[in-house]
Symmetry: C2
Subunit: 122 residues, 2 copies
Amino acid sequence: MKACLREYVDAFNASDAARVTGLFADNATVEDPVGTPIKRGRDEIVAFYGHATQVGARLELIAPPRGSHANAATITFKVHVEGPDGPAHIDVTDVMEFDAQGKIVSMRAYWGADDYHPANAS
Amino acid sequence: MKACLREYVDAFNASDAARVTGLFADNATVEDPVGTPIKRGRDEIVAFYGHATQVGARLELIAPPRGSHANAATITFKVHVEGPDGPAHIDVTDVMEFDAQGKIVSMRAYWGADDYHPANAS
């Protein structure tokens, strides 16, 4: 699971949406951020990451991935983005669940409005 | 939610189990680590934190708490413990869900066997 999460970060930062979405099961769900409508299935996930990887966002892991005693693991990172008012970062923790084949079946991204930090304000 | 999580860390590190468990709703659940049997309700949670705060474990936050667009927030930290073979730390991310009164109703701690790091091996 942790190798998959490190590949997720590397593929995302290579702006390689196909590599990212290839880590997901066909019937996976993505809730990013938690509390917003869930993307379901390959088409919606491909559309989501196709956009996310093309806007120049970069993930910076700030701690080793965490596992569990089940089919779940987490990554905690900053997303560096070009916001409407200049560079910014978002503090995020992702929780991923995996199927028996090692594919991601559920991704939930925890970040709220106050986790968005403009660079010129911090 | 973030203020509650910071209080959770401070109360834990003060070995004050009553302060910690006072942050939880009466019907809360604790799954620590994820994949093991769930503690349910005040009695089991008081027993869990009564033990956890008496063995000298200390939480070191390594990133700001993350919120969400819902009733959930996360903390990512190291737990410093005195293990059977000496000092060690465990890499952990907790996901907490809150009720309308701001009490914790669900705590899930993500860490696996390979997130346990003896100090003399790292």
